[in-house]
Amino acid sequence: MTTTAPAPPRETSLDWVKKNLFRNWWSGLISVILLPLSLYLAYRALRFLFVTGQWDAVRVNLTLFMQGTFSRDEQWRLISQIMIFALAFGIGLGTNSAASHDRAQDAGLDVERGTIAGTLARMWSLVAFIGLLLFFATTDDMGNLINPFLFVGGGLVMGAVGYQARRLPRRFRNVGWLLTMTFLVIGFQIVSGFDAGGWVPLGIIFGVSAYSIAPVDRFEASWLRGALRFAAALIVVLAIRAVYAAVDTPGIGWDDWSGLHLTLMVSAIAIVLAFPLGLLLALARRSTLPALRIMATAYIEVIRGVPLITLLFMGQFILGFVVPQDVTLSAITRAIAVMTFFSAAYIAEIVRGGLQALPKGQTEAGQALGLAPPPIMRRIVLPQALTAVIPAMVGQFISLFKDSSLLSIIAVLEFLGVRKIIHAQEAFRGVGIAETLVFVAIGYWAFAFAMSRESQRLERRLRVSR
């Protein structure tokens, strides 16, 4: 017969206070000093927010903060873009999470399945940011609220909707990434326009998938299968090209972007471009070919040794060396290029760290099985190395997102730069300077914090098997 020990007595709130605030004399002293101090600071913060703060500078200019000087008549493009992007990310995350959830479940591991409520709780900083926008909306100025609300709230809702893709039956999940890529391209082109020449990205995406899923398995001859695959891809590409030629509607280039929209877009584009570039640089730095290795190392060390702000200023001249003279690049194009090249160097070092940390036995096991170097890299090394560096990688993405505020000094009007216009307005000259700064700070924090939370979750999920 087994006897169970009596359950420990329940902890009262007094016990909690004793244990956590007054454990010994010095922790008691610290508590006595810090408690009133933090209460006082909270009081001052709330007082600033609700009583003394002159929030009109923010309140009146919410739309300006969101989309800057972008044409008001065309703002539907921006709002649709944000929503479509959010949908794309939602689908990507949703299908991915469902796939790994199933795998974990098959393995008998206990994992929680994501819910919308969970997503919103994870993204609480964004929800709080929306709350702040609502707080600023006064009853006499609802029109001013609609744009920013759609901007952030619409994005959040569409993201949650896309996340429902996790409910798709297993065999349809493979289309998850296809949908994600498609929506990303469409979302981009809703602003930049569906020109006849804009077929390339979708053409590549669908061409590649047609090539890989073409049902040719029943044919024996490999040349025939190859030819049929190629034909399928070609038909799809030509069809997409024809659709674009038929639509051929111009849009607005990215030179007119500004405000929070610009900040988000430039960061996102730079992240998406810098990641593969950084990966290639990391691999090149570990290459056995000396020329490749030396070039990659030199690039990484030079970029890492120069401040971003210097590079941004130099962007004009440096890019002038590599692009033909008659091509003029807008400030935003240059900014995106510089941010991409800058981040790629850091990402390369992060990836290299992950590659080095992987035990040698993993590669050897792959070699011993007769795998060629590319599949060893793709199937064995990179999945593990990249998982290991997710926190550092997201940290780099967050710092890239925040560093985009530096663009305001090269005459690109991003989220922080919008303040310049606001305080040039008659009513707000020298008024509400602290308030607009605080608002911008909260905006940056809301997005950065959401990214950080999502990365923690991603990390937990990918490590579920370890």
């Binding site: 070699q367 011993a368 099985l369 795998l371 060629a372 064995i380």
Partner: protein, 260 residues
Amino acid sequence: MTNEQNQNVYSDATQAKGEAVIELVDVDKFFGDFQALADINMNVGLQEVIVVIGPSGSGKSTLIRCINRLEKHDRGRITVDGIELSDDIKNIQEIRRETGMVFQSFNLFPHLTVIDNITLAPRQVRHEAKNDAEDNAMALLERVGIPEQARKFPGQLSGGQQQRVAIARSLAMRPKVMLFDEPTSALDPEMIKEVLDVMVELAEGGMTMIVVTHEMGFARAVADRVVFMADGYIVEVGTPEHFFTNPQEDRTKLFLSQIL
């Protein structure tokens, strides 16, 4: 024992019975100035089980790692199934496809499930269809006695189970030769037997094997020949009975007195 008899034991054992699958001729290997393998001459016949023993640092692991080119030998010739090992990557991969290897630390891929671990190489290298590869993987898991673990991740398995998965993973490529690099050294004592049982079954099924191990019981029971190495040299080769009951060299006697 007379000199003549000695000679017989010796010459009997140095040569493989029948057709040689692996042949090493005058192989030397250096790590910097340190000579890891010295003047290695050895051959392994079809369906033969060779057990390599020796003190640590004697070059046993290096020897079998040279056979599938995880280490590059500096001098001499290594031939596997008629293919001579050269620097050509195609040639190396061809040899690696013919030789399975089981590591001391398992080296399973932790991010893949057991079945994905096993099917990865057949699908990538032999371009097997997914269903065929998985059917074969399940058959192999049956053979090593853990079909119920197919959908689990390596981290969820015991050491013995992991090593059995590693054996199944190597067998999935249908190798002609299996190389075992101290397969039971990282295992808790109670799990050693389950792995050795699989290896015994494999040997009885006619697999050609080179096994680096400290399991003398396994050597005695299964080995066709025992190779004793020290300081990079092959000191002595013999059938298990001669080797354990009547070793010729002083170095061998010393080693056996230390471990038995």
